[in-house]
C-alpha cells in the first residue's frame, strides 16, 4: 500500500486548498448562475428578442421545457468544459513549476496517492458544482415551465459530471506530462474542440464525452436512454488518462 501512502492526508489538503484559494466557492457560484440562468434564458428569450428587435418581427418559438433543458446542457457543456480545463491545468504542472511537488514528494507520499488525491479533489469540486447547477436548473425549470423528473435531472447531472470529468482528466494528463500549466490548458482546449468536432459523427460521437449529452437530455425529459455505451466509454477514457498520468509521473524527476 506504499503507493497510496498519504492519500487521506493529501485529499484533505487538496479540498482545503480549493476552499482557501476560493476555487471551490467561485466555481460553485458560477455553476449556480449557469444552472439558474439557463431556464431563465430559455423562458425569457422571446421577450429579450422582442425588446431588442423592436418592430422587426423576428419569429421566436414559444419556450418549452425541452428548450430549457437544451439551454442548460449547452451552457454547462461549454462553460463547464472550459472550467474543467482551468481546474485541471495546474494540478501537477503548477506544483512542479512552483516546487511544492518536491516539498510533498520528499515526504512519505506515494506518487499514486499524490495524483489520486488531486484527481479525487478535482472530481469532487466538479461534482459539487454540477450538483448545484443541476439543482438550480431543476428548481427554475419547475418554476418557469413544469416540474421535470427529479430522477431524470439527477441522471443528467451524473452524465454531465462524467463528461466534464473526462475533459479534466485529459488536461490532467497533460499537466502531468508537462511543466507548464498553460501548455496543459492548451492541450485540454484542443481536446475539447477536437472531441466536439469528432462527436458530430454519430458512430464515433457516442463513444466520446459529448456523446453523453443526448442521453442526459432524454433522462431529464423523463424518458429512457441508452447510457451503457457512452458511460462505459467515458469511464474507460478516465481510467486510461489516469493510467497514463501515473505511468509518466512515477518515474519523473522533479
Amino acid at each position: 500500500m506504499s503507493a497510496l501512502a498519504g492519500f487521506g492526508v493529501l485529499i484533505r489538503k487538496e479540498l482545503l486548498e480549493s476552499v482557501r484559494t476560493f476555487r471551490l466557492p467561485i466555481v460553485v457560484g458560477l455553476f449556480a448562475v449557469v444552472g439558474i440562468g439557463s431556464p431563465l434564458l430559455a423562458r425569457f428569450t422571446p421577450e429579450i428578442v422582442e425588446a431588442l428587435a423592436g418592430d422587426m418581427g423576428i419569429p421566436v418559438p414559444t419556450p418549452t421545457i425541452e428548450a430549457a433543458i437544451d439551454q442548460l446542457l449547452k451552457n454547462v457543456a461549454q462553460f463547464g468544459g472550459l472550467t474543467a480545463i482551468l481546474l485541471a491545468m495546474g494540478s501537477v504542472a503548477a506544483e512542479k513549476e512552483r516546487g511544492t511537488a518536491a516539498l510533498l514528494l520528499t515526504k512519505p507520499v506515494g506518487r499514486a496517492a499524490f495524483l489520486g488525491a488531486k484527481v479525487a479533489a478535482l472530481g469532487l469540486v466538479l461534482l459539487t458544482a454540477v450538483a448545484v447547477a443541476t439543482v438550480g436548473g431543476w428548481i427554475y425549470t419547475a418554476i418557469l415551465f413544469e416540474t421535470p423528473s427529479a430522477g431524470g435531472f439527477a441522471g443528467l447531472g451524473v452524465l454531465v459530471w462524467l463528461s466534464l470529468f473526462a475533459y479534466a482528466a485529459i488536461t490532467f494528463v497533460a499537466s502531468t506530462l508537462t511543466r507548464s500549466a498553460l501548455a496543459a490548458a492548451g492541450i485540454g482546449f484542443v481536446a475539447l474542440v477536437g472531441l466536439g468536432i469528432a462527436s458530430a459523427f454519430p458512430e464515433v460521437g457516442r463513444f466520446l464525452p459529448p456523446g453523453l449529452g443526448e442521453p442526459a437530455r432524454a433522462l431529464a425529459l423523463g424518458g429512457g436512454a441508452e447510457v451503457a455505451v457512452p458511460v462505459s466509454a467515458a469511464v474507460v477514457l478516465l481510467v486510461a488518462c489516469l493510467g497514463v498520468a501515473w505511468a509518466a509521473f512515477r518515474r519523473q524527476e522533479l
Binding site: 506504499s2 503507493a3 501512502a5 498519504g6 492526508v9 493529501l10 489538503k13 482545503l16 486548498e17 482557501r20 484559494t21 512552483r98 516546487g99 511544492t100 518536491a102 516539498l103 510533498l104 514528494l105 520528499t106 515526504k107 512519505p108 507520499v109 506515494g110 506518487r111 499514486a112 512515477r250 518515474r251 519523473q252 524527476e253 522533479l254
Partner: protein, 319 residues
C-alpha cells in the same frame, strides 16, 4: 536501527545529456554525525542530495539511506528523512502550523503527539508567534526557518539540508547552527554549504566534491591535521629579547629547521619533520631559557584545505 552507515553511495553517477553532474561517487555517512558536503558551484552537492531524497534517478550506481535504495516513489525512503531544499517553496495559502501538521501527518503522527511535536517544533525554530499566519506573508528568513521546522517535525533518522543558511541573517544563522548541533543527539545531519566557517563550527565529518567527483572525505579534525603545515608558532613572554635572539640563532643553525621568521615578537618555525621537529623545538626553547606564553602547531583553516584540494584537483584535471 542497524549499525551500518546511514548513507551509502556506490558509483553514484548522474548525467544530464553530455553534462556529468556526479561522477561515480562512493561515499559513506556514519550515523550520529553532522556531515558537511562541500564544494564550489556545480560540484555535485545538490545533485547528490536530489538523488538521496528520491527527487532524481541515478544514471548509474546506487544510493541507500538506512539500507533503503533511493529513487522516486519510495515512501519507505522518505519516511526516514527530513529534507530542506536550498530554495524551499510552500503553499502560500497555508498557515505555518498547518504545514507542520501536514508533514507530521504524512509521517504518521496523529492526535496529541502530532500537536505536541508541531508546537515544540514551532518554538524551536522561533515561529510560535507566526504559527497562525499565512505562509504567503512570511519573510525569506521565516520561510527558511519554517523549512527547517518541516524537516525536523517528524524527528527523522536523517536530516538533509541543502544550503540551509543561504537566506538567513547572522542571528538566524547562529541559531540554525546551534540547532544543528543539538540535532546531533537524535539525527544524522547532512548539509551542503558554501560557508566553510559554518562547517568548521558544527561538522564532525566532511566530504569535498568538485566537478562531480569526490576529492576527499573524512573526520574534520583528521582532515585539518593531514593538511596542517610543518610550522610551529612560539609566543615568548615579553622582556626576553636576548634569550629569544639566542633561540633564533640556534634554530637558524639547526638542520631540522627550514625557516625561522620573527614577526611582532612571535617566532614561526618551519621544520622538516613535524613530529620530530616539535620535540626538538621544545628542547631548543628550554636550552635557550625562553619562557613561553604560547606554543602551537599551526593548523590550516578548512578554507585553506578546501582551496588547496579543489585547486589541486583542477590543476590535475587540466594537466
Amino acid at each position: 536501527m542497524t549499525d551500518g552507515p546511514i548513507v551509502r553511495t556506490i558509483g553514484l553517477t548522474k548525467r544530464y545529456g553530455p553534462i556529468v553532474a556526479l561522477d561515480g561517487l562512493d561515499l559513506e555517512v556514519p550515523r550520529g554525525v553532522v556531515f558537511g558536503l562541500l564544494g564550489p558551484n556545480g560540484a555535485g552537492k545538490t545533485t547528490t542530495i536530489r538523488l538521496l531524497t528520491g527527487l532524481a534517478r541515478p544514471t548509474a550506481g546506487r544510493a541507500e539511506v538506512a539500507g533503503v535504495a533511493a529513487g522516486p516513489d519510495t515512501p519507505e525512503l522518505q519516511r526516514r528523512i527530513g529534507y530542506l531544499d536550498q530554495d524551499p517553496r510552500f503553499y502560500g495559502w497555508m498557515r505555518g502550523r498547518e504545514l507542520l501538521e501536514l508533514v507530521g501527518q504524512l509521517h504518521g503522527l496523529r492526535g496529541a503527539r502530532l500537536r505536541g511535536r508541531v508546537t515544540e517544533t514551532l518554538a524551536r525554530v522561533g515561529l510560535s508567534d507566526a504559527a497562525e499566519r499565512r505562509i504567503g506573508g512570511y519573510s525569506g528568513g521565516m520561510r527558511q526557518r519554517l523549512g527547517i521546522g518541516q524537516a525536523i517535525v517528524a524527528e527523522p533518522e536523517l536530516l538533509i539540508l541543502d544550503e540551509p543558511v543561504s537566506s538567513l541573517d547572522p542571528e538566524g544563522r547562529r541559531d540554525l547552527l546551534a540547532l544543528v548541533g543539538e540535532l546531533r543527539a537524535s539525527s544524522t545531519v547532512v548539509f551542503s554549504t558554501h560557508v566553510l566557517a559554518d562547517v568548521e563550527r558544527v561538522c564532525d565529518r566532511v566530504a569535498i566534491l568538485d566537478q562531480g567527483r569526490l576529492v576527499t572525505d573524512g573526520p574534520l579534525d583528521a582532515l585539518l591535521e593531514e593538511y596542517a603545515g610543518p610550522v610551529y608558532r612560539l609566543d615568548p613572554e615579553p622582556g626576553q629579547a636576548a634569550q629569544v635572539a639566542a633561540l633564533v640563532a640556534a634554530l637558524d643553525a639547526a638542520d631540522w629547521v627550514t625557516t625561522v621568521v620573527v614577526d611582532g615578537g612571535v617566532v614561526s618555525v618551519s621544520v622538516r619533520d613535524p613530529a620530530a621537529g616539535g620535540r626538538a623545538l621544545l628542547g631548543a626553547v628550554v636550552d635557550a631559557g625562553v619562557a613561553l606564553v604560547g606554543f602551537e602547531r599551526q593548523r590550516p583553516t578548512l578554507e585553506d584545505v578546501f582551496l588547496r584540494l579543489v585547486g589541486r584537483d583542477r590543476d590535475e584535471a587540466a594537466a
